[in-house]
């Protein structure tokens, strides 16, 4: 059986939901971060699927942009995480609910 567009979309939706639920449920900042990446890649999957379905390359261009931004975000985000850990000796986001130490 040929893979259908709907299969990809369903997988993408599942991945996005897992990511969104993870961001809300997880307290560990690293885990939250990974969940965000998961949501981004779920969206990428949707782009690729539509790009292939419509035989249009634009969707693939968007994927590259998303990946670039995700890489930049990872660099910045990890930097922030390291700083927070140094200051609070904890990776629990609820411990960082106030800005002042």
């Amino acid at each position: 059986m040929e893979p259908q567009l709907s299969w990809y979309l369903a997988l993408s939706a599942i991945l996005f939901t897992i990511g969104a639920a993870g961001v809300i449920i997880k307290r560990n900042v690293i885990a939250m971060f990974m969940c965000i990446e998961l949501m981004l890649n779920a969206v990428n999957l949707t782009f690729i699927a539509f790009s292939s379905f419509f035989q249009d390359v634009t969707g693939q261009l968007f994927v590259f942009i998303v990946m670039t931004v995700a890489a930049a975000e990872a660099a910045v985000g990890l930097g922030i995480i390291i700083t927070i850990f140094r200051n609070r000796e904890s990776l629990d986001v609820d411990d960082a609910s106030i800005l002042k130490l």
Binding site: I24, I25, M32, V93, D94
Partner: protein, 725 residues
């Protein structure tokens, strides 16, 4: 005729003020400051005389000298130029303002010697001259108002010159605030003038496309009816009344006179210059300038005459009971200003200006003389502590004698001619601005009674000051009960007894010059009836000069008939190329009926009798008993200040404090602002829980929001918001 020299008259004092303010304050050199200040006014004086008397000058032709500096405001039809004009009226005014001003400046250099604020005083004094000359030379109402406010400001600054004395500050505020009431009338009058005529200019200036507001009114065919309703009709009578409110404020007439006696808290040269000779006569000047308006408004003229006569008598009675030498002169000034308004109200505009001029001479003299006395007495102003000064200050005494005789109305002295002219014009006034012939006789009686009182109180002042026992040696208890005196200087705690001494020449020379002018100054306006009495036919210069620039009261016919159209002789002036200077009026005996001349002579005799009687009466009463107690009600100025306090000031204070402050400010304004603050505060308190700092909560909110948006479009379709066509 255009002549740019004209602006030098106003800008020389301004430059003097600037130099003294910026450079004089650093140098602190009395010679430099005095030289700059007097020099600036001297420049004005010389230029004023040159422009007035040169061939084709302001006083020698009927054409004014113009100086158009720039167009100040032009909005639609409204146009106000920064332009000066010297016609016969403003020329006459400029002459005596600059000349008397110069003498007073010189006097002040001696009087203010060793004062800490020497530079400040002269900067203000020069600034005053600048504003006063703008007022006089302005060619439109609005520029005149600039000068009007300028002199008000300088008056405020100079009354409050002694900043360490509370009464000086209070007096300055009182003067300023009382004048605001008058200014309201002036501004409203200007607006109404513009509304009715479409112009605020005094002169026709075809080159600039300006027509004269005064000429427009002069050209109106009918005069306003002589009824009280005319005042509120919004016509010419309303303009005249509003302008008179302004004049009453500046020239200290009932009911706005209360500031002038208190203004004596300023240094004496200020009292002489601003509060006697020049600024306070600005109201008279304005009314004469607007004579075309007044000759169309008989009701307004009637009001002016009544107020003037009432003020003259009222102030004279108060003047009798004052013990402060400057206060006597202050009330005398108010009284004399009343005379001038009386003359204006009866259409004798030229006589009013004549009295302004002679009054400037003798009142400046008397004030400067009192300043000399105060200086000689080491800053004592209470006449009860003077006496016998003629031995110590012979020159001051001699000059003040001239002023005394002039103001009392003794013949050959200046005051006699002008006062007699006013009294004669009052007696012979037509029915244009009076309801019945009895009124002119009643007003004459008030004027004559005032003349009597004037002679009495001036004699009292002279007797208390220069004759009698030398009371300054007496060890006086502090009689604070009756002393409402304002002490001229901060040294009044220095109660040691000094020998009085004559003032330095800087002060006595102006006194002598003014004494000469007070003696002979009246000869510029000798009327035909008096001149022919001694077989002479002297030219009545003042009459001939000013007659072409004032409007004439129409001669009223028999009762019931409408008054004739007012006669208007100027604006636009007739070309007088090559014509000799003074030929306008026919002074030949043919123009004067024998009856009139006889009546005028008789009346002059009566007024001389009144003056002499007043002096004798004053002499008899006060020579023996200079300290004779005066009626309490007079000494307390009819309690007018107290009445004003109770009727106006206290209610305003109470209303402001209890109503505006405690209810409106605290309740409404503060309440409104606090309510806004409270709403924001409580709202913030309620929704701040949304921002708890928990990242996961934020994520959940974003997610819910996204779901809501997606759900919305999923349910209603993408066209629900009409975003997609």
């Amino acid at each position: 005729m255009e002549n740019n020299l004209l602006s030098l008259i106003i800008f020389a004092p301004l430059a003097g003020a600037a130099i003294n303010w910026f450079i004089g304050r650093r140098l602190r050199n009395e010679k430099f400051i005095g030289l700059i200040a007097c020099g600036a006014v001297a420049v004005s004086t010389v230029v004023a005389f040159y422009l007035a008397f040169k061939a084709g000058g302001a006083l020698r032709s009927t054409e004014p000298v113009f100086d158009h500096l720039w167009t100040w405001i032009q909005v639609g039809k409204f146009r106000a130029d920064f332009a000066l004009a010297m016609d016969r009226l403003s020329g006459t005014y400029a002459l005596f303002v600059t000349f008397v001003g110069f003498l007073i400046h010189v006097f002040a250099v001696g009087y203010m010697h060793k004062d800490d604020g020497f530079y400040r005083f002269f900067a203000f004094l020069n600034l005053f001259m600048f504003a006063m000359l703008i007022l006089v030379l302005a060619d439109n109402f609005l520029l005149m108002f600039v000068g009007w406010e300028g002199v008000g400001l300088c008056s405020y600054l100079l009354i409050g010159y002694y900043t360490d004395k509370k009464e000086a500050g209070d007096a300055a505020k009182k003067a300023f605030i009382t004048n605001r009431v008058g200014d309201w009338g002036f501004v409203m009058g200007i607006m109404l003038t513009f509304f009715l005529t479409g112009s605020i200019s005094f002169f026709n200036k075809p080159a600039h496309g300006v027509t004269s507001a005064l000429q427009t009114i002069a050209g109106m065919s009918a005069v306003d009816p002589f009824t009280w309703q005319a005042i509120f009709a919004g016509g010419v009578t309303s303009i005249a009344i509003l302008l008179f409110i302004g004049a009453a404020g500046k020239s200290a007439q009932i009911p706005l006179y209360v500031w002038l006696p208190d203004a004596m808290a300023g240094p004496t040269p200020v009292s002489a210059l601003i509060h006697a000779a020049t600024m306070v006569t600005a109201g008279v000047f304005m009314i004469v300038r607007c004579s075309a308006i007044y000759t169309h408004a008989p009701t307004a003229m009637f009001v002016v005459a009544i107020i003037g006569a009432a003020t003259a008598l009222f102030a004279a009675t108060i003047g009798i009971a004052q013990n402060d030498i400057k206060r006597v002169l202050a009330y005398s000034t108010i009284s004399q200003l009343g005379y001038m308004f009386l003359a204006c109200g009866l259409g004798a505009f030229v006589a009013a200006i004549f009295h302004v001029i002679t009054h400037a001479f003798f009142k400046a003299l008397l004030f400067l003389g009192s300043g000399s006395v105060i200086q000689g007495m080491h800053h004592e102003q209470d006449m009860r502590r003077m006496g016998g000064l003629k031995k110590y200050m012979p020159l001051t005494f001699a000059t003040m004698l001239a002023g005394w005789l002039a103001i009392s109305g003794i013949p050959i002295f200046a005051g006699f001619f002008s006062k007699d002219e006013i009294l004669w014009r009052t007696w012979s006034a037509g029915l244009f601005s009076l309801p019945s012939p009895a009124w002119s006789k009643a007003l004459w009686f008030i004027g004559a009674l005032t003349a009597l009182l004037t002679a009495v109180y001036m004699t009292r002042m002279m007797v208390m000051t220069f004759w009698g026992t030398e009371r300054f040696r007496e060890k006086h208890l502090d009689h604070a009960d009756g002393v409402q005196g304002i002490h001229d200087d901060a040294h009044h705690d220095d109660h040691a007894i000094h020998e009085p001494q004559e003032s330095p020449w800087l002060m006595t020379v102006p006194l002598v010059v003014l004494a000469i002018l007070s003696t002979i100054g009246g000869f510029i306006g000798v009327s035909y009836a008096l001149g022919s009495l001694v077989g002479l036919h002297p030219t009545n210069y003042i009459e001939q000069t000013l007659d072409p620039v004032v409007a004439k009261v129409p001669v009223a016919k028999a009762e019931g008939e409408p008054a004739a159209e007012p006669v208007w002789l100027s604006h636009p002036p007739q070309p007088t190329d090559g014509a000799p200077a003074f030929v306008s009026l026919d002074e030949s005996p043919a123009t004067h009926s024998a009856e009139e001349v006889g009546a005028e002579r008789l009346l002059a005799l009566v007024s001389v009798g009144i003056a002499a009687f007043g002096i004798v009466l004053g002499w008899i009463i006060f020579q023996k008993r200079p300290l004779l107690a005066m009626p309490r009600i007079l000494e307390n100025k009819y309690y007018v200040d107290e009445i004003y306090d109770a009727a106006v000031i206290n209610p305003i204070n109470a209303g402001s404090r209890e109503g505006l402050w405690k209810i409106f400010d605290v309740g409404v304004i503060d309440g409104f602002l606090h309510a806004i603050g409270d709403v924001v505060k409580e709202g913030g308190r309620a929704i701040r829980h949304l921002q708890g700092g928990f990242v996961r909560a934020y994520a959940a909110i974003i997610l819910l929001g996204a779901l809501a948006v997606i759900g919305f479009f999923a349910y209603f379709g993408v066209h629900a918001m009409r975003l997609v066509p």
